[in-house]
Each structure stands twice: as structure tokens, then as C-alpha cells.
């Protein structure tokens, strides 16, 4: 049976289409989830895609975190449902307190669209099990508010618990503390990543196919009934 991965569309979501394409390329069935629909329709995992949900009004992700669908996702995540937040999705997960820390304005005060090299720091997560810890990949960064921040105690805890998902290598493009490009929850099932793996699944339209393993990894974590 094919795994079913839900991709949420909020008003203003942009990379939902590409996330669905990546899910399909990885061999799973993408399921469209509408922000206003308080049902997950039995999906095996959920992706919160990139974009400008609610126009980034107030703060990036601040309004999306109150959407009806999030009312289902938050308890489901606590029960172990794998959730991946990409870019704006990462911002929403932080606003919803499913992940610690916050994303703030790039240090250069400009939107940055650039191919970046990141190092996968842990393969012990639902979304990175098909990578090796320490593996470097090339993916796409395109954001205006991508600088990860957290207080020193939280940062220390993340490091100690192996909750750093990925770090920028060869230069920090946005001022993220600890060069952090992504983090995972303590259980390793909820992940937030600032760069876009869904834009690196085909060298024809992206810098590499390095990002595809995010979407195939989760298939291993999911055991369809």
C-alpha cells in the first residue's frame, strides 16, 4: 500500500505544488489538505510547505498556526505523526511551539535566493534516515526571514540532544545561530528545515537531486495499516 503524505495549503502557500511533486517522485501519494478543514484524512505524515501564508501578516506563520488544520496537526504530532515544515512551514512549527526557537529577518535585511550547501547532522529522524550523518548536500535557500534564533539554554539543549537537523556549510547565508538550517523535535518525528529540499529533486529544475531523500526517508518511518 502506498503511503499517503498530506501537504497543507494555507492562503498564500506557494511551494505546496512542489512538495506534492516531491512526494510523488519519492513514491508516495500526495494528499491536498486545506487550511480550513479540521481533518487530516488519515494521512501518514504531513508537510507544511513554503510560501507567504497570510502574506506574512503580523509575523511569518503567526496566523497559520491557528488554522483549523493545525488544530488537528498539533495533537497528531504529539502522538508521533511525522511532520516536516519547510521554510514558512518551519516558521509555522515554531509559532505553534512544535519546535523550539524562532526564525528572524536575514542579517543582510534582504530576501536571499541561493543554492546552499548544508550538512545533515543526524540521520536519526523520520525525515533524514536515508542520509548519512555528516553528509553534505546542495539544496535551495529562498527566504527573507531565515535566521534561526533561540536562547542559549535552548541551543545548548538542542546540541546536546542531537536535535540539530542540518547546518549551513561553506558560509552562513542569513545569520542563523550555530549555522542552523534545521532542527528536529526530541522524538525526531517533527522537523523544520529552512532550505527547500523539494526544489532539489531534479537537476533539470534545481541544483541537484539531493533533496529527494527527505521525502523517501519518511516512507520508512511510516507503516501503512
Amino acid at each position: 500500500m502506498t503511503a499517503r503524505i498530506g501537504v497543507v495549503t494555507f492562503p498564500g502557500s506557494l511551494d505546496d505544488r512542489d512538495a506534492r511533486r516531491a512526494v510523488q517522485r519519492a513514491g508516495a501519494a500526495p494528499v491536498e489538505l486545506w487550511h480550513d478543514d479540521a481533518s487530516l484524512h488519515g494521512v501518514d505524515a504531513v508537510i507544511l510547505p513554503g510560501g507567504f501564508s497570510y502574506g506574512d501578516y503580523l509575523r511569518c506563520g503567526a496566523i497559520a498556526r491557528f488554522a483549523p488544520v493545525m488544530g488537528e496537526i498539533i495533537p497528531a504530532a504529539a502522538r508521533g505523526l511525522p511532520v516536516l515544515g519547510i521554510c514558512n512551514g518551519f516558521q509555522i512549527l515554531c509559532e505553534a511551539h512544535l519546535l523550539p526557537g524562532a526564525l528572524t529577518r536575514n542579517v543582510a535585511r534582504r530576501f536571499i535566493n541561493r543554492d546552499v550547501r548544508i550538512r545533515i547532522e543526524t540521520a536519526a529522524s523520520a525525515w533524514t534516515s536515508e542520509y548519512r550523518a555528516g553528509q553534505e548536500i546542495t539544496v535551495v535557500l529562498k527566504s527573507g526571514e531565515g535566521a534561526y534564533v533561540a536562547d542559549p539554554a535552548t541551543l545548548a539543549q538542542l546540541e546536546a540532544n542531537g536535535q540539530i537537523l542540518a547546518r549551513y556549510v561553506g558560509g552562513n547565508p542569513n545569520g542563523s545561530l550555530g549555522d542552523i538550517a534545521g532542527v528536529i523535535s526530541a522524538a525526531g518525528t517533527v522537523a523544520g528545515l529552512m532550505p527547500h529540499p523539494e526544489h532539489a529533486i531534479d537537476p533539470l529544475t534545481g541544483p541537484s537531486a539531493d533533496g529527494l531523500a527527505f521525502f523517501s526517508s519518511v516512507l520508512r518511518a511510516v507503516v501503512p495499516a
Binding site: P11, L14, Y54, N113
Partner: protein, 746 residues
């Protein structure tokens, strides 16, 4: 209305609204009485230069008169945007438009709303917008006002385009003192649709409802068309122009796009028009005129952000993110339900009639009763005086061949220094400071974007069908000879599209000029239009639409004539795209085309000697056609792995760019004089990298097409080497290439 009839002698402020005494008299003649305040407002915006094209229409007819025979045009000049058939049931709509004056007054919002406006034009054709491009021109890179304008313009385009989820796939950035008080911001949008989805701006079917959807209407942008875009800067009252710049909300536009596309898919829209310059006045007159019907509108029903607006202001407002749709009575319910799903405000404001009149009421009073065509289509048509300026001969006589050139034993070093001068300049250097602020990946169908020669988009994943786009202009060439210069701009965009492996198909254009009241500017304009029409005819690519921006001048100093030409091409299979960089080592580099000693208007003459004079390079359209045929065929037969056109900075800058973009050096031997082969800007040329083993077949192809081909050398290594003259390590080249814009703008 009754008031207008009984007070014919009341003084009206037509001049302040931008109408001449003659135009005002004509309005009175059409109506048989004095216009009401609201009617005066309608004519003042609809008959402005920006909306009516009164100084250009007479000449723009050439695009239709000289149009090459083609069966790909589904909608042409006169519609919101041109639409061309690209095969397999797909059609593509594209257009470029200016937002120059607002971008000087309020750079961030001016540029942002420029993107918003052109995107809505594409949406109004029934298409999903899929990409944008921007062609930008500013004063000297180190001028204080450029520091005020450039970062904000780029920020505005980034803010709006990224939030809409439209990849930016290319464009231009140029600097010249003439643009200091008159920056040029030309925005292009391209959309995709199936043939049967085409929508037109026509209000047909008396009894059908007129629905206004999108943002509430406020006082922003009032006078934008009539006062801001249809007059020069300079003199008092600059502050008064500030309210004329609109404010954009890209999130609302994103919702509007998704909402409209769902309405189209559901078959609920009979006709549709976007609201841009002249807002409600424009949409209602054009829809009614387009349908050859009439319309009755209750202006009170327009949702307002500011309750103090009167009917004239409601009509003139240029509030953003609004569309107007014609909907059958039975479909109004489902239409409003879809709008509610997307949280897009929508209100029925009127209905289509069979009276042939546009009638509007406000608070029960009749405030507008005009024949819609008189405002939309039958504006004044001027035959402005045209006079070639006396200074033109002096300019042409200033021959660049007398400029000192590197010679003798130190020539190699001097040529090396000239290359580095171009590479390190804001004009010739890396544009990444700008392009990195634009999302080029969203939607996952971008196959090539900046810095490659053309933007290339995939349309159909199964077949690999795609479209390529390039925008090019050259103010220096056009200053020297507006006819030839315009054809050179067309040729460059045409060549850039072919370099990616796509067949050029159609043209859009943005004609940026000074005041049409200046006979010298009109001479430049008429020459440019004639050049573009003739050029399109010879190349077999029709003009599908575009935009004229006059009054780009401060006081009596006009900008250089700057027509910007956009060319669209079709790619049969984007999987065999041809990038522009040297990546494959140890492959042959071949120069296609003929190089002559042509430095008039060249980047080298400008940067090295501060010189602009002589004639621009000769234009040879048959040679451009043959070159394009070779580039497309070479792509189809997989004979080449890279192609880069030659333009600003000649072969020297082209080689430097190719090395840096691809990350691989080269070693070449010039076939003749160093300065000529490095810096001449002869047209109809490109460099290609040949797939190892395909050299003989490429030569046969070139010979058969009559395109000269000369092997220059090979790719490889980590230097750019011009044998016998100089070598530059790529690290040094890259450092210099990436320095100019960050050093200036942070």
C-alpha cells in the same frame, strides 16, 4: 446630469486634470453639453497619454500593417496581452509594461505595483501567470539618487513577485546618466493557458451582471495615469505627485489569482478585465466598448476603504488588486461563493445593457452617461511634429575609430586591463546582488534563469514542451540611430532566445521615450517604431502587444530613446536546454558570425573613453535568422553543450561570463586584431561549446546555413587565456566580477 445640462457655463478644472482646451471642447461636442464632474474625470484619465496612446497610435499601426504572416496569434494588439499558440493545445500570453514615473517618486511601491499590474493583465486573458522578468535602468551606479532608488526598486519587485509565487527568470540592469531623474522599470509577465480558456475584455449579454472583485477602493493612485505618467518631471509640486503612487498587497493578489483561476475553471466568467491605470473608469468603458453593448453601474456599490470618496474619485482611483468580471445572473451565486472561499471581496455593481451607453448613478443621481467607445477607443489621435535633431550629425560624426587603442608591445597588458575594467564595472559585472533577491525556483518549472541568456520554463512535463523569454534594450545604440538601434535590441533578444535552443515566435515591447511634445523625441520614436515593425517583419515574429511610456524626462532633457524588446520562443524539449556557461572541460569553443571593427555605442568606448558617437554596429537580420537557425538546430541535434550570445562588451565579456557562470576556464586564440575581436560589438554572433565528436557536423550545419564559424580554442583549466596577449586566473576574475554592486549597495 440635470445639473450639467442647466449649467453649461460652469468652469471646470480640465487643465489640472491633464486635458487640453481642445480635448475639453471635444468632450462637450460628444455629449452635447458640458460633462459632469464624474464624466470629466473619466475622459481625463482615458484620454491621457498613458491610457489613450494619443501620440503613438498613428505610428503603432505599423505593427499590424507590417505584421508577418503567422498562424500562431490567438490574440493580438488591443487585448490586455498577446496570446500565441505554442503547440499541444497550449497557449502562452506575455506582455511587458512600464512603471517608470511611480518608481522615481516612490521606488518600492512603484516597482511593486508595476509587477502587480502586469500580472493582472496576464490573469485577465484567462491564463495562470507563471513567471516574471524585469528590465531596469538607473542613473550612474555611484550617484546618491541611484542609492535611493535602486535598492528600493529591487526590494519592491522582490516583495511583490516572491509573495505571488512567480519565479523571476531574467531581465536586464543598466546604468546611464540619462536615467538619473527618470529610472526605467519595465516588468514582464508570462502566463499559460489551454486554447479554450482564453478570455477577452468584453461585456456581452444584456442582463449579465458586472462584478467588482478584489481590494476595497481607496484614494491611492488618483491621477496616476493622467498627471503622473503623462507629464514630465521638473518644476514645482513634486510633493503633489506622491499620492499618485499606488500601494500594493501581494497577498491579496495571490488570493485574487487563485480565486479567478477557480472561477475560470468553473465556467463562471463571460468576460473579464483587470483594473490598472484609470481603475473603474477604464474597466467599465473598455468592457462596454469591447462588447459593443452598454452598462449601468451603481457607484455606491463599489466597496470603499475611505467613505469620503466621491464619484469622480471612485472612478479615477488606482487601488490595486482589483478585477471586473461579467457574470450571467444564474452564475452570480456560485461566483460569490468561490470568492468567499478565497476571502476575496466581491460585489455586483451593475449590469450589461443594450443601450450602447455607459450610465452610472451615485446616491440616486445620474453622474455618468456617455458612449463608452468615446472614452475607451476614440480618444484623440495626434500627429505630433517630427524633426531629426541637428545634433544628430555631430554625434554620428564623432567616429570611435579615432579612439586610442592598445597597440605595440604593451597591447596584451592594456587589453587585459580593459577587460578587467568592463568586468569590474556595475554595467558589466555580476548582477547577483539583484537577482538573488528574486525567487527563481517557485513552481518547480524553471529550467534556465539569470544569468543564462534567456529564461526557460517547462510547460508540459510529459513532452518537455517549454517557452523561452529574453528582454533587451540598448539606449546608446538607439541614441546614435534609433532605427538601427531598435532592430539591434530586437536582434539581441531574438538571438538570446535561440541560444537556449528555443525557436523565436513573438514579440512584446516597452517603448521608453522623452516628451512627445519634443519633435526630436518624436523623430526618435517614429524611427524606433518603424525599425521594430520592419525588423519583426523580416524576422517573421509578430508584435503581440506592448506599452508606450512617454514623458521620461526632467525639464528639457529626455532619456536616451530606450525601446525594450521582449522575445518569446518555443522549446520542443527543455531537457536539452543549452546553458550559457563553460562547464565541460576540453571541448572546442567556436565563434559564430562575422566580426567587424564596430565600436559606436560599445561598452568599451563608454567605459574606457567616456565616448558615445559614430554609428552603432550594422544590423543584418538575415544573418540573425541564419544564426538562430543554427543555434536551434544545434540544440535539437545535441551538437553543442553551451551557447552564449555576444552583446555588450563583445567577445571579451562573453568569454569572461561563460567562464564564471560555468566555473571552467578557456584558452583561445583571436583570429585577428585584439581590440576588435575582444571589444567590437558586431551583431549576429555567438560562442558555442561543441560536444566532443560533433565538431564536423556543426561545421556542416554552419556551412549549409551560411553562418561563418571559427574555432577559437578549448575550454578547461582555471584561467581565461587569450593566447599571445594575456591570461586572468578565474579567482581574480570572479572577485572583480562580484565586487561592483555589493560595494555600492551593501
Amino acid at each position: 446630469m440635470a445639473d450639467a445640462a442647466v449649467t453649461p457655463e460652469r468652469e471646470q478644472p480640465y487643465a489640472a486634470l491633464g486635458l487640453t482646451a481642445d480635448e475639453y471642447a471635444r468632450v462637450r461636442a460628444i455629449l452635447g453639453r458640458r460633462p459632469t464632474d464624474a464624466e470629466l474625470a473619466v475622459y481625463s484619465v482615458m484620454w491621457s497619454e498613458h491610457c489613450s496612446y494619443k501620440s503613438s497610435r498613428k505610428h503603432l499601426r505599423q505593427f499590424a500593417d507590417k505584421a508577418p504572416a503567422t498562424d500562431v496569434l490567438l490574440a493580438g494588439i488591443g487585448q490586455n496581452a498577446g496570446v500565441v499558440d505554442v503547440g499541444r493545445g497550449y497557449a502562452v500570453t506575455f506582455k511587458i509594461e512600464s512603471h517608470n514615473h511611480p518608481s522615481y517618486v516612490e521606488p518600492f511601491q512603484g516597482a511593486a505595483t508595476g509587477v502587480g499590474g502586469i500580472v493582472r493583465d496576464i490573469l485577465a486573458m484567462g491564463a495562470r501567470p507563471v513567471a516574471v522578468m524585469d528590465s531596469l535602468r538607473f542613473g550612474p551606479a555611484d550617484a546618491p539618487d541611484t542609492h535611493r532608488v535602486l535598492p528600493a526598486v529591487v526590494g519592491g519587485i522582490s516583495f511583490y513577485g516572491n509573495c505571488l509565487g512567480l519565479p523571476n527568470i531574467g531581465g536586464e540592469l543598466a546604468f546611464d546618466p540619462c536615467y538619473l531623474g527618470n529610472p526605467l522599470v519595465n516588468a514582464l509577465c508570462v502566463g499559460v493557458l489551454r486554447h479554450e480558456d482564453l478570455k477577452l475584455a468584453a461585456a456581452t449579454g444584456p442582463g449579465n451582471q458586472v462584478v467588482l472583485l478584489g481590494s476595497r477602493t481607496g484614494p491611492d493612485g488618483i491621477g496616476g495615469a493622467s498627471v503622473l505618467a503623462s507629464a514630465s518631471f521638473g518644476g514645482s509640486g513634486e510633493g503633489a505627485k506622491r499620492p499618485s503612487v499606488q500601494v500594493g498587497d501581494p497577498f491579496m493578489e495571490k488570493l485574487l489569482i487563485e480565486c479567478c483561476l477557480e472561477l475560470y475553471r468553473s465556467g463562471l466568467v463571460v468576460g473579464v478585465q483587470d483594473l490598472g491605470a484609470a481603475g473603474v473608469a477604464c474597466a467599465t468603458t473598455e468592457l462596454a466598448a469591447g462588447g459593443h453593448t452598454g452598462m449601468r453601474v451603481t457607484l455606491d456599490r463599489v466597496p470603499l476603504r475611505d467613505a469620503s470618496l466621491g464619484p469622480a474619485e471612485i472612478l479615477m482611483s488606482e487601488s490595486q488588486e482589483r478585477m471586473m468580471a461579467i457574470v450571467t445572473p444564474a452564475n452570480v451565486g456560485p461566483f460569490l461563493a468561490i470568492c468567499a472561499k478565497w476571502d476575496v471581496p466581491a460585489t455586483v455593481i451593475g449590469e450589461v445593457t443594450d443601450t450602447g451607453r455607459l450610465e452610472m448613478t451615485w446616491q440616486g443621481a445620474h453622474v455618468v452617461d456617455i458612449p463608452p467607445g468615446s472614452a475607451a477607443d476614440d480618444g484623440p489621435v495626434y500627429d505630433r511634429p517630427v524633426r531629426r535633431p541637428d545634433s544628430q550629425d555631430v554625434l554620428i560624426g564623432d567616429d570611435p575609430h579615432r579612439l586610442p587603442r592598445p597597440a605595440g608591445p604593451g597591447a596584451g597588458e592594456a587589453l587585459r586591463a580593459d577587460l578587467l575594467l568592463l568586468v569590474g564595472s556595475a554595467d558589466g559585472g555580476d548582477k547577483a546582488w539583484v537577482t538573488e533577491q528574486y525567487d527563481c525556483y517557485v513552481r518547480g518549472d524553471t529550467v534556465l534563469a539569470a544569468p543564462h541568456d534567456a529564461g526557460l520554463l517547462r510547460i508540459d512535463a510529459e513532452t518537455g514542451l517549454g517557452v523561452a523569454l529574453a528582454t533587451d534594450g540598448n539606449g546608446r545604440f538607439c541614441q546614435l540611430d534609433p532605427y538601427v538601434g531598435t532592430q539591434l535590441a530586437l536582434a539581441e533578444a531574438y538571438r538570446n532566445v535561440a541560444a537556449s535552443g528555443a525557436r523565436p515566435l513573438a514579440v512584446t515591447n516597452c517603448l521608453n521615450f522623452g516628451s512627445p511634445e519634443d519633435p526630436a523625441v518624436m523623430w526618435q520614436f517614429t524611427e524606433a517604431v518603424r525599425g521594430l515593425a520592419d525588423g519583426c517583419q523580416q524576422l517573421g515574429v509578430p508584435v503581440t502587444g506592448g506599452n508606450v511610456s512617454f514623458y521620461n524626462q526632467t525639464g528639457s532633457t529626455a532619456i536616451r530613446p530606450t525601446p525594450v524588446v521582449g522575445v518569446l520562443g518555443v522549446h520542443d524539449d527543455v531537457r536539452r536546454r543549452v546553458p550559457s556557461g563553460f562547464s565541460l572541460p576540453d571541448a572546442a569553443i567556436v565563434l559564430l558570425g562575422t566580426t567587424r571593427s564596430e565600436f559606436g555605442g560599445s561598452l568599451w568606448a563608454w567605459l574606457r573613453h567616456g565616448h558615445l558617437g559614430g554609428l552603432p554596429p550594422a544590423v543584418d537580420l538575415p544573418a540573425e535568422r541564419s544564426l538562430a537557425d543554427v543555434l536551434v538546430a544545434a540544440s535539437e541535434r545535441r551538437l553543442i553543450v553551451a551557447a552564449h550570445d555576444l552583446s555588450d562588451g563583445g567577445l571579451a565579456l562573453a568569454l569572461a561570463e561563460a567562464c564564471l557562470v560555468g566555473g571552467t576556464g578557456c584558452s583561445v586564440m583571436l583570429p585577428g586584431d585584439g581590440t576588435t575581436f575582444l571589444f567590437s560589438e558586431s551583431a549576429a554572433r555567438a560562442v558555442v561549446v561543441v560536444r566532443p565528436g560533433a565538431e564536423a557536423e556543426l561545421v556542416r550545419l554552419c556551412t549549409a546555413s551560411g553562418v561563418p564559424a571559427a574555432t577559437l580554442g578549448r575550454t578547461g583549466g582555471s584561467t581565461l587565456e587569450i593566447a599571445g596577449l594575456f591570461a586572468v586566473p578565474l579567482t581574480e576574475l570572479a572577485d572583480l566580477y562580484g565586487r561592483a554592486l555589493p560595494a555600492l549597495f551593501g
